[in-house]
Every structure is written in C-alpha cells, then in structure tokens.
C-alpha cells in the first residue's frame, strides 16, 4: 500500500536515521583491517556463487543466494585470527521468534521463522549517545490518516501471549545475546520474493521482535525505558542487493505515542555487483556483454564486514 518501513516504524515506535551509525562507519573507514586481499576473496566468493557452482547454464537464485551468504560469512570468520573474540559467536538457523506487545490498545505480535540468527556472548554496546536518545522524545510518529496503521495485517485470535525466543536466550546458555539477523530472499519467482522495501520492513519487525524478547528476558515484562539499550543488527539480501540495518531498542513502553522512541539506522539498496553474466551476450556476432561479474562494489562487502565485526573491534 505505502512503504512498509513507515508502517513498521509506527508499529514499533521507531525513528529512522539514514545511513549507518558512526560507530559502524568508523570500522568501515578504518584502514588497519587489511581489506585488499579480503576484497579479492569476496570477488572470488561472488564468482563461485554466481558462475562456477553448477552444472546447468546458470545457478538458480535459491542455490546461489545461500551459497553467497555462507561464503561471505566464511570470509568474515577468517578474520578471527586477528580478533580472537570473534570466535565467541554462534549461528542459528530457522530460529522461531515470538514477541507480543501492545501499541495503543491494539495487541500486535511477531511470530515465525526469523531467518538466520547470529548470537554472541557479549552484547553490542549502544550505538546512539544519550542525547540522541533524549532527542527522540520530540520526534512525532507520522500518522497515516485516514488509513489505520494496522492495515494489511492478519487478524488472529491469540490464545497465549508468547514471548518466547526459542532455545537461544534461555538462562545459562553461553551465547545469549542476539547480534545480527540475516534474511535471504531466495525464491525463484519474482512475485514470491519480497521487494526491497518489504524486505526492510520485515527486517525491522524481526529485529524489533528479537530485541524485545531479549529485553523482556533481561528486565521483566513491565513496560519501561531501558537503561542499557539493546542493539540488534540485521542484513537482508536477495543475492545482489544488500540492505543493512542497525536497530536500537530504547524503551519497551510502546502503549503511548510519546516519550522516548527506538532508533533504527538503515542503509538501503547496496549493490554488491552490477551484473553477473554466465554466458556472454552476443548481438549480431559481436560480444556486447562479456561473461563474468561486472561492477563489483567493495564498499558493500566492507559494510558487511563492519557489521559483522561491530561489537568486537
């Protein structure tokens, strides 16, 4: 109907900031990471996923998307020689998330498989300063009159208000803090995939759900402003376009529309490469587009790596 991110912002009482937060941007610009050979490896990863992997002429999206993701994570994890605390991370797939919250007397719920979740032993430090958090008090959430903000949501009879986070966040589990969520849009047909805006909205809702569940585990079920804001990152991709997002939960008091809001930094629509031709395109016996990857953007991979390293550097 209209951009899903705006609706998700109202539902989660969040203020949007364009671009990545300065802490993550600092990691991107830090030259001491030795990114040259990592770029080479990232390029190889893209070639492998898009071109070399299959016996058919071109690999399908449901094959190359997870493969690309796996290889990128592998490249990032190989940095753990330099940063030993990177090894204290754990990937969980098909994690079921459930969180309920009330928003102006309407009960909302996020349920379902939340993609791939990466947990760590230590939480990510809050990204926004105290002044920024207090400044969100004056920010007014936009209204969608005459459309209600809960439009297009399924109405469901709820029998149990679940606030469960699966096995990940129970007490005593060493890797108990949600770090990053990964979403892979790998349906073959374009109508089954989420468009970039819808993917961003889905990322926001699930990041919020995870953060809220963690907050309820840490601080109990009462709505209040959090002393230690909880930060959850999320990365969504469909194999070519990457959406980066950092979500900071400042408050669980979501019933009223005023007061401190949560913050989200979104860096939308980063292309990792322009085109991946498996067979060279030939028009009238002249090669117009040679086979291979064209337009590789190392910046996107740097941001991916920065989000991965955030919290340990």
């Amino acid at each position: 109907v209209f951009p899903g991110v705006r609706q998700a912002q109202w539902l989660t009482k969040t203020k949007l900031v364009e671009g990545l937060p300065p802490a993550v941007q600092g990691i991107v610009d830090n030259p001491a990471l030795g990114l040259q050979e990592l770029e080479e490896r990232a390029k190889h990863v893209v070639y492998h996923a898009r071109l070399w992997d299959t016996a058919e002429p071109a690999p399908r999206r449901e094959k190359y998307c997870p493969l690309l993701f796996e290889n990128l994570i592998h490249v990032c994890r190989s940095m753990s020689a330099q940063y030993p605390s990177l090894s204290k991370r754990m990937l969980a797939r098909n994690c079921r998330i459930a969180a309920t919250w009330e928003r102006e007397s309407i009960l909302l719920q996020v349920r379902g498989l939340s993609g791939i979740l990466m947990n760590s032993m230590t939480p990510i430090p809050p990204v926004a300063s105290k002044e920024e958090i207090l400044a969100t008090k004056e920010h007014v959430l936009e209204t969608f009159y005459p459309i209600a903000p809960t439009i297009d949501l399924q109405e469901v009879n709820v029998y149990k208000e679940l606030n469960d986070t699966g096995q990940c966040f129970r007490d005593g589990y060493p890797y108990s803090h949600p770090h990053t969520l990964f979403f892979l849009e790998s349906a073959n047909v374009r109508t089954n995939r989420f468009r970039p805006e819808q993917l961003r909205a889905k990322m926001l809702m699930f990041a919020f759900g995870n953060a809220l569940a963690k907050a309820r585990v840490l601080h109990g079920n009462d709505p209040k402003v959090l002393e230690q804001p909880i930060v959850v990152q999320s990365i969504g991709t469909d194999g070519q376009l990457f959406q980066f997002m950092v979500f900071q939960l400042n408050t669980t008091d979501l019933v009223s529309n005023d007061g401190i809001k949560n913050l989200v930094w979104i860096d939308p629509d980063q292309n990792l490469y322009e085109r991946a031709q498996c067979v060279p395109e030939i028009k009238k016996r002249v090669v117009t587009k040679p086979a291979g990857i064209s337009g590789f953007q190392p910046d996107t991979f740097k941001k991916f790596l920065a989000l991965y390293l955030h919290g340990t550097v």
């Binding site: 009960l107 005459p146 209600a148 439009i151 949501l153 399924q154 109405e155």
Partner: protein
C-alpha cells in the same frame, strides 16, 4: 484481544466453476471462468460472445457506505492509493484505503493517487459542496451536480451510471425524493437517502477510441456477426420518439 499477523499468498484456479460464490471480500484479483454466451443448460443463449483475452475479476465495492465491522455509521474519509485499468468494464477502478481495509471502487474523471474522498450518510438542511469522488445521499447534494454510481433503493448498491464517461444530472428535489436524469435522458425518481458518487466516471474518451481491426474485437471477446442483410430489421436509421415516462422507484402510499 484480537491481534494481527503477517499473511501469505496463493494463486486461485481459473476453471473453478464456483468463482462467483466467494463471500469474503478481497482486493486480490479472482480468476474468472468465461461462459462463452452459454447458459446453465450448455446451449448458447447470447450470440457473439466467446474467446478473448483471459481476465481476472477484481471485486468492486458498489456500496460506498459500507462500514467496517465495529465502525459507527458516521461520515468517514478514505485515501485513493492507485487508479488502474479494469479488464472487466469500460471504466477505470481505484484502490482506496481507509481504516483497516482496502477496496476497489469505480474511479471518477480526475481522481489521482493521494486524493481523499469522503463518504457520508447525513442529509443536512444546507446542500454540501461536494468534491469529485465523494459519496453523499442525493438529498445532501445541490441541484445540478453531475453524479454517477446511483442506487435505486437505499443500501442496495450502485447499479446505474457506471460506464466510462457517463454522468447523471440531479434535476430537482421534491419532498423526500430526488429526480435524476440518466445518460439516456430518461428521468428517474428515487428516495433522497440513496447514495450517489459525485463526478463523471473515468476513461472519458472511451467512446472515441477506434477499434482498428477485427482482431481487436476478438481480443475483447466478441465473436463476428452474421453478414446476412435482413430486410425488415429496422435497426438502421435515426429514431425520433418522445421521452418515456419518468421511472419512479419510490413506493408512494396508495391514495
């Protein structure tokens, strides 16, 4: 408390014989089964229908004052989200959203995405200055407005003036009833609580289009006519007749 969740999708079958029996309203297009002019016995009832491009039916809400469940019967506004072509009719349709629901309605001439339209059931003492696309009872509109999507009985749903570029004129209001001139110049008398939409129906140049070739008619689902000339047909030529008497849908008490 009822709460909401994200939903999924599934395409519907086109050869489903019960496609018309869907009770729940949905915005997504429904696959239609074409009849080819055949009735329930299987023989042709109407000649000249068959073939043509496949169409999906979008459920249009002709009752403008349909309230959501749990909403009060009072004036409400809706926002136009998009205006698009409908393969099943000559007019364009508009997706409007208000409150928690979206529905399709027939678009008027100058409707753009982002407009706000109001629907109101009240009849005040003074006539309302209605903008295009709003829906008011006939008693609330000033005499002489162009209207479309007219109902014959209150609450029945619009059955008149729905084709592309058509409009009716509100002629006069007579103690509790209103008289409207239809596009065929026939006069119609209805109760003043019947709701109508203000403005001309969209796609105004529909009658100026040129079909161009026989194939385009076939795409529209029209099969060819017989070429035999019937001498006593009587269809050709200009016809001059007096206006038929005014049709009244108001049940006056028997005197």
């Amino acid at each position: 408390a009822a709460c909401r969740e994200l939903g999924g999708s599934a395409p519907r079958c086109t050869t489903d014989p019960l496609w018309k029996c869907r009770t729940k309203y949905t915005v997504r297009p429904v696959g239609m089964k074409k009849t080819g002019g055949r009735d329930h016995t299987g023989r042709i009832r109407v000649r000249g229908i068959g073939g043509g491009h496949k169409r999906r039916y979008r459920m249009i809400d002709f009752q403008r004052l349909r309230y959501e469940e749990g909403a009060l019967p009072e004036p409400f506004t809706e926002k136009v989200i998009s205006v698009r072509y409908d393969p099943c009719r000559s007019a364009d349709i508009a997706l409007v959203a208000g409150g928690n629901r979206k529905r399709w309605i027939i678009a008027t001439e100058n409707m753009q995405p982002g407009d706000s339209i109001t629907n109101s059931p009240h009849i005040g003492r003074m006539a309302v200055s209605a903008g295009e696309g709003d829906a008011y009872p006939l008693g609330a509109l000033p005499v002489g407005t162009l209207i479309c999507n007219l109902e014959s009985h209150p609450g029945k749903g619009a059955q008149y003036i729905r084709a592309a570029g058509t409009c009716g004129v509100l002629l006069r209001k007579v103690n509790g009833t209103a008289i409207v001139q239809l596009p065929s110049k026939r006069h119609m008398q209805v109760l003043e609580t019947c709701v109508a939409m203000v403005g001309r129906v969209s796609n105004v140049d529909h009658n100026k289009r040129v079909i161009g070739k026989a194939g385009r008619n076939r795409w529209l689902g029209k099969r060819p006519h017989t070429g035999l000339w019937h001498r006593k047909g009587g269809w050709a030529g200009r016809k001059i007749k007096p206006l038929p008497p005014m049709k009244s849908y108001v049940n006056l008490p028997r005197v």
